[in-house]
Amino acid sequence: MDPIVINSILAMGGLGLGLGAALSVAAKVFYVYVDPKIGEVADCLPGANCGGCGYAGCSDCAAAMVAGEAAPNACKAGGDSIIQAVAAVLGVSAGAAEREIAKIFCRGTHTSAERKFLYKGIQDCRAATLVAGGDKTCTYGCLGLGTCVTNCPFDALSMGENGLPVVNEKFCTGCGTCASVCPRSIPKIVKESQQTAALCCSHDVGKIVKAICDAGCLGCGLCKKACPEKAIEIDKFLSVVDPEKCVGCGDCYEKCPTGAIQSLLA
């Protein structure tokens, strides 16, 4: 046996042995108890790290779920199948969470809403609002530059021709990223079963709204008077529908002069 063969075998064998030993000693000495369940729960979660559950990502959320800090339905993005799977792993009965989706609370299109100036800056709503409060006269309205569209982790949002985002309800998981990303939080997370809402965010006085946008809520209160269930309140010139009380009778739809309040169950 040539010395080179012995040397190679000894050197490599020694190295392998040394590393194997070092790794096993380290694994023993530095052993950190990681609950295997966390791995299982993490596997059930969609893994999109969308943050809808309020944690830094799926693995964090899984750890919270195993530790009991978060309920199995904390994962907004998953929908029922995920919640049942997580509940099965944790052996906990999961309250069937009502599916939530995003809705766009603005109807000020290019044509209906007035523009103060021509904005040619960075194509991002957050950037646009820094430039004199955005190019839309209405300081509450949607600027239509698509920040929510680009940031949606599930590609459920697309930009309509009229300059307002459109929600694809099949893909939307209600994770809330669009709501948190939009500088004016135009998209809002709403229970799927909610019947009616005033699709506007403007707290301006009716006179101002009428001048700058022909689709905004004037805060006139006609819908409030018309509603048999007393489900509508006027909060600083903006009508707010209480989902629990509203039965979706639709009396308020005709009363509204600008059509701001309408049925969500398109």
Binding site: I4, N7, S8, L10, A11, M12, L15, G16, L19, A22, L23, A26, A27, V29, F30, Y31, V32, I122, Q123, D124, A127, T150
Partner: protein
């Protein structure tokens, strides 16, 4: 001392390990899409690169050369690097959990990072002394992190820019890296 300075300048700027020597751009394009992942990767790379190249240098000089089995260098180095990365991962998880959570996901990625292995082999092929190898590994890792963070900064602007759909992602990342490389390439005259 003078040639250490020249070594550092040439490793960081002139023949930057990433843009000129092409070592280590497997994660370069992938990780540089967001700033904090780039910072995490850069820190992990500096830490592991220094450790790995010094251990490899010692193994080469005290085991491979005396036994005259230099030909097996590739196997020995990559075994050391893989073992080292796994060791660092285990120790970090226990000793510094927050640091582990920040660097954690990048550590397994580093084993297949061409830069760490490349620097270890370059140290031997340019037969540096231990100090030179140590300084060279720090400098290349700093150069790598600089290029990575610069590109991450640029790529974060892409989200707001108007990038044609089909060029989005890797293609535009590569082209940007090329443009950045051009500016580094201008410095080629300085180093040796």
């Amino acid at each position: 001392m003078e040639d250490y300075f020249m070594l550092i300048i040439s490793a960081i700027f002139v023949n930057n390990i990433l843009l000129i020597k092409f070592l280590g751009n497997c994660p370069f394009i992938g990780v540089s899409s967001s700033m904090d992942s780039a910072k995490g990767m850069a820190a992990a790379c500096i830490f592991v690169n220094v450790l790995a190249s010094s251990m490899c240098w010692v193994f080469q000089k005290f085991v491979l050369e005396p036994l005259s089995i230099e030909y097996i260098q590739t196997l020995a180095f990559i075994l050391i690097i893989a073992g080292l990365v796994q060791l660092v991962e285990i120790i970090l998880q226990k000793v510094a959990p927050p640091l582990y959570r920040a660097l954690g996901i990048y550590l397994p990625l580093i084993t297949t990072n061409c830069m760490i292995f490349g620097v270890a082999v370059l140290n031997i092929r340019q037969d540096y002394t231990f100090m030179q190898a140590f300084v060279y590994s720090i400098a290349t890792a700093v150069g790598f992190s600089m290029a990575l963070i610069l590109l991450a900064g640029i790529r974060e602007r892409f989200i707001v820019g108007k990038i044609p759909k089909l060029m989005d992602g890797f293609p535009i990342g590569l082209i940007t890296a090329g443009m950045m490389g051009l500016s580094f390439y201008g410095l080629v005259g300085i180093g040796k």
